[in-house]
């Protein structure tokens, strides 16, 4: 007991010594970073993509020469206001829990007659090659701006996906022993200069989820949530997940349920 007390004392002293020296420099860095983020916020290139997405939504395309205007994201055909904030959810017609991207692709296949492999070939943009899916998801996401995330995951299939998502969140592997929880399981941490949300809490998950889709200045592109999560797996040094695969959807159920109640601010802009 006494030994434990001494440990704590020494530990606390060392921590305190560190905290003092760097504080002044750190607060200056934090101020300038806040200015940087503020300067970016006014003038988000994602707005340009949103306009493009709106046009693609209404345009008659594909073998069936149909628009996407009858696509049902869970609130009824063509009802987009607040739909993104309530995904993923269980869909009776497919018998599956789907996220915004799997549902969108489903509509492009069923309503417009595209082949899934064709329409997902360009699921994210590269310099000089735009992605219809990126534009459409930006547009659909923006239709939930200002609305609360609401994924209660009460349907048994949704509940199961939540549990699968939680399992994946804590599952460690790879040459760095990584899981999602390593970086996103604690409050008030940052990686380099970027704040890391504690995605197991409402506040952390909410802060993270409310701004997607988001324009990433380091990438020069809007990233969808699938893109975000698949790249997290790359950073964890895992092999590459399949686009629209179940563990990516399950992670979204886990995160969206945790974030439920947070008001959307999308499209976002970040590093």
């Amino acid at each position: 007991m006494i030994q434990r007390f001494i440990r704590t004392l020494v530990g606390a002293a060392v921590v305190a010594a560190f905290a003092g020296s760097a504080a002044a420099q750190d607060s200056k860095v934090a101020d300038e970073l806040a200015k940087y983020r503020e300067a970016l916020a006014d003038g988000n290139p994602a707005d340009l993509l949103e306009v493009k997405g709106a046009a693609l939504w209404a345009e008659k395309r594909g073998p069936k020469n149909a628009s996407l205007e009858q696509c049902d994201f869970g609130l009824g055909p063509g009802k987009l206001d607040g739909a993104y904030a309530q995904l993923p959810r269980y869909f009776k017609d497919t018998g599956k829990v789907m996220d915004v991207e799997s549902r969108l692709v489903h509509c492009m296949v069923t309503l417009q007659g595209f082949k899934q492999e064709d329409v997902t070939k360009q699921w994210f943009s590269k310099p000089g090659t735009e992605s219809d899916i990126e534009a459409l998801v930006t547009f659909i996401g923006a239709k939930s701006n200002g609305m609360p995330i609401n994924v209660p995951a009460t349907h048994p299939e949704e509940k199961k996906m939540y549990q699968i998502g939680e399992y994946v969140f804590y599952r460690r592997s790879g040459p760095q022993d990584f899981s999602c929880a390593i970086c996103h399981g604690q409050d008030g941490k940052r990686i380099r200069l970027q704040e890391l949300g504690n995605l197991t809490t409402k506040e952390g998950a909410g802060t993270a989820m409310k701004t997607w889709p988001s324009y990433r200045v380091s990438q020069g592109a809007v990233w969808t949530m699938e893109r975000r999560l698949i790249d997290c797996m790359r950073q964890a040094r895992f092999p590459e997940p399949k686009y629209l695969s179940d563990s990516i959807i399950a992670l979204q159920v886990y995160l969206q349920k945790n974030a439920t109640g947070t008001v959307m601010e999308t499209p976002g802009i970040k590093r």
Binding site: N44, P45, L48
Partner: protein, 104 residues
């Protein structure tokens, strides 16, 4: 590929009009390599003009260091609600685009 439209916002306050422009453009530096290791040729906006009705209010020349999807903000005296702001750009491949907005 036809260029996407710009987003132009113009607001008049106390006789000064503030214009903010967002442009959809790759702004390739000519120094990046693609997956196969080949240099991606430079492709960037070189010139831009902004006019209030028919009067030039800003001329700009860009190099490759201007960010992808360029952003521009400036202020000029005059302009009234409803007046037209017309922005045009031209890139090094000769492609051009013109969009306009009304002062709010």
């Amino acid at each position: 590929m036809a260029a996407n439209p710009m987003k132009i916002r113009a607001n008049n306050k106390d006789g000064v009009t503030e214009v903010k422009v967002l442009i959809s453009h790759e702004m390739e530096t000519g120094q990046r390599k693609d997956a196969s290791g080949a240099i991606v040729p430079a492709w960037f906006i070189t010139d831009l003009t902004a006019k209030h009705n028919d009067r030039l209010v800003l001329g700009a020349e860009f190099g490759t260091a201007v960010s992808k999807n360029p952003y521009l903000a400036f202020r000029f005296k005059g302009g009234a609600k409803g007046d037209k702001i017309v922005v045009s750009w031209k890139d090094n491949k000769g492609e051009t685009r013109t969009d306009e907005a009304a002062i709010a």
